[in-house]
């Protein structure tokens, strides 16, 4: 019993930086949605049920333009397609023998950030750990949306601008130690980042949504390095 409590707490601690990084992003989302005329309550409900940044920004904009349901579904699906690969990654890392309902619960919490943190764990991850990991980010995302949608003057402009980098600070904190430890991982990061920059700046690719950019860059980066430099034989991953 105490082991499962500490697993949950361990997850909670890992989730805290994510939650803090989410607040400025979800605040921006709430602010944007409300300022474009969406009912603040709808924005909050969207955050509670979706827990996704790129998809919500796109979806909210489509809703405000009174897009057809199928347009919203297709757009959001494509933007969030990368979660499929992340879910596959988690499926390999999660403890064995979990009942379907527990998997269904943690699936809800798979985001770019929770996926990255969970994947970087050395051992198998437990259900309790994932539950802990997801908790604070979920609240951070919801509360940030609430603040942005309802009380748009709550976050002083100076802090909200600087806090935009919070999430990226976390990403860097995760990437650097790995890059330091392994040339291969450094290359994975560099190749994926390079492709991402190219896709963002070359006008030829300007039609690509942010979701496509992320999935194409990360898949290409990981794929290229897999072909160049596969891992050695291991029993344990």
């Amino acid at each position: 019993m105490s082991r499962s409590v500490s697993e949950y707490r361990f997850g909670l601690g890992d989730g805290l930086p994510i939650a803090l990084g989410y607040i400025p992003v979800s605040f921006t989302f709430g602010l944007m949605a409300a300022s474009l005329g969406m009912d603040p309550l709808l924005a909050v409900i969207m955050s509670i049920t979706n827990l996704t940044s790129a998809g919500q920004f796109a979806g909210a904009r489509l809703m405000i333009e009174h897009a057809k349901y199928y347009e919203i579904i297709i757009t959001v699906f494509i933007i969030n397609l990368r979660y499929g690969l992340m879910s596959l990654g988690i499926s390999q890392k999660i403890e064995d023998g979990l009942p379907l309902w527990k998997k269904a619960v943690i699936a809800f919490g798979i985001t770019d950030e929770t996926y990255a943190v969970a994947s970087l764990e050395e051992n198998t991850i437990t259900y309790k750990y994932m539950l802990g990991l997801i908790t604070l980010p979920f609240f951070g995302w919801t509360i940030g949306t609430m603040m942005g949608a309802y009380v748009d003057a709550l976050l002083p402009k100076s802090i909200s601008s600087a806090s935009g980098i919070a999430l990226y600070g976390m990403f860097i904190a995760l990437m650097i130690p790995a890059a330091k430890a392994s040339k291969t991982l450094l290359l994975v990061i560099l190749v994926a980042s390079g492709i991402s920059v190219i896709l963002n700046y070359i006008p030829l690719f300007s039609f690509l949504s942010s979701g496509w950019c992320v999935i194409l860059s990360s898949v290409s980066g990981a794929l290229i390095m897999t072909l160049i430099s596969p891992m050695e034989e291991q029993d344990e991953h």
Partner: protein
């Protein structure tokens, strides 16, 4: 926008977002054997982190210069093994300071 349209749209979005999140986790029950696939899945998180960070981090504050300083500060802090929270705070502080100076 009517509340009805809003709620239906939100519900559909939530559903379609949940599909890619859940299907692999629910359907794939075994440890996949392919070494190539294992390698790919091992590299993916790092590739995702890189793709998410660049180039977007440079547009994350009002000033590209401030963001760049933030990136450099975070990188140095992370290189010297500071924890997640510390690095994040350092990055935010750096941006805040540089924006004051500009």
């Amino acid at each position: 926008m009517s509340i009805e349209y809003g709620l239906i749209a939100i519900f559909l979005m939530a559903l379609i977002t949940y599909v890619p999140r859940s299907l692999p986790l629910l359907l794939v029950k075994t440890h996949l054997k392919s070494k190539k696939l294992q390698t790919f899945l091992k590299y993916m998180p790092y590739a995702v982190l890189g793709a998410l960070t660049f180039p977007n981090v440079f547009n994350s504050s009002h000033s590209v210069v401030a963001s760049t300083v933030g990136v450099i500060s975070a990188t140095i802090a992370a290189y010297f093994k500071r924890g997640l929270l510390t690095v994040t705070i350092i990055a935010v502080s750096a941006v805040w300071i540089v924006e004051r100076m500009l």
